[in-house]
Symmetry: C2
Subunit: 236 residues, 2 copies
């Protein structure tokens, strides 16, 4: 936890917050903070600043909060991800949030196992948990927006061209010798397939929606590694 | 499995191999291969090529193997990593292997929990399992070399200056405004600290060993994300 993430309901008065549960335990046991310790903090979807611990109780702590700093710049990226295995999804949601991704689409694909869509990880409350961990890690307060699209063809045909408008449209696909550009630093829509890749029909549909296929060379990466790798490559 | 990794002992004659166990199950159930199917393959620490399935038995399969291709270029990188939590170590070993890392040092540090050094994951047989998964993923055959160094000061003072000689010596450290260079594409030694970072004493020792501190900006990443992020950033 590099930033203590506060919610509006944590505030018990102007510039005064009360924190308990997971955050309290972490501040006490991992950060080993004491009365008077200053912590980086931020209000969800709001400003960042400092919080000073003014009272340490057995199961909660009181903070004097001063929010006067802007959040770091979001990445100008829309990430379109074939729904990964739930365990990997958790880690990807946390890591891309820590990297500054603010717009995520989870889409179906031929090689996505149907059972993945039944996972409780996909419930909004659960996804938000991983977003919070990512924000606490990356020192940010702005929650990503996430959308779940179970109909690949409809999504790619009707929605994706609008989403990708005026952006660089990149489809990560190992089976091309076209090497992904680096340091593009502009509005980008990045599509990443499932383990095993998109099938030919899907590649064609994505190309028709304006996406160009790129690989990272001879090596093939797991979705999780590829996602961080490509984000690092595109934005410097 | 994008490449079937063979060992010398799998060969039952010239250009003829027999595969069973995990690899057999994967080829049968995940790749859904049949008699006559061609697979990418490679010999550990040797050449890569094609394998054609010539016989499919109930618990094994026979292959006609033709190894005539070179492995992809290794990354000119030595990775020095404060020993991560065992679960994360597994994933990092697999992902950095898939990215082409060939030299890894696991070192102690103040914030490395002592119990991590007792983990069975650190046994060579276990580490090799994750290297194999990484090679199968990234389509490569050359096993990484790994070294475990439990004495930080001794290692940094006596060995690290020799390891880092003639290479770009980078210490990833969030608390600097010095931004990590990108696309250096030359011999590099990259040191990454534990969750929570190196302590001041360690930073100083590493600087004295010739390392310069760099961050990736305002955001702080988990060790796992940072490792892939930095490798992508340094080599394009």
């Amino acid at each position: 936890m590099n930033l203590l993430l506060l919610e509006k309901k944590d505030f018990i008065g102007p510039g005064k917050a009360l924190v308990f549960g997971r955050r309290f335990e972490h501040i006490k046991k991992v950060l080993k903070a004491k009365n008077g310790t200053n912590l980086s903090c931020g209000l969800i979807d709001g400003k960042m600043g400092k919080a000073r611990i003014t009272s340490f109780y057995t199961d909660s702590l009181e903070l004097e909060v001063n929010l006067n700093l802007d959040t770091p710049k979001p990445l100008p990226l829309t990430l379109v991800l074939a729904l990964p295995r739930p365990k990997m999804l958790k880690r990807i949601m946390e890591s891309v949030t820590s990297l500054g991704v603010k717009e995520i689409y989870l889409v179906n694909s031929w090689r996505v196992e149907k059972s993945f869509w039944q996972s409780p990880v996909l419930e909004m409350e659960s996804l938000e948990k991983y977003f919070r961990l990512g924000l606490e890690q990356g020192k940010d307060t702005i929650m990503p927006q996430i959308y779940q699209k179970r109909f690949f063809s409809k999504f790619v045909k009707e929605e994706l061209p609008i989403i990708g408008k005026d952006s660089l449209c990149i489809l990560a696909h190992p089976k091309t010798s076209n090497i992904c550009p680096n340091s593009v630093n502009r509005k980008t829509t990045l599509v990443i397939g499932p383990e095993g890749g998109f099938i030919e029909f899907e590649i064609k549909a994505l190309e028709e929606a304006g996406f160009e296929t790129f690989s990272i060379g001879e090596r093939i990466l797991k979705v999780e590694t590829a996602t961080t790798y490509l984000i690092s490559r595109l934005f410097t």
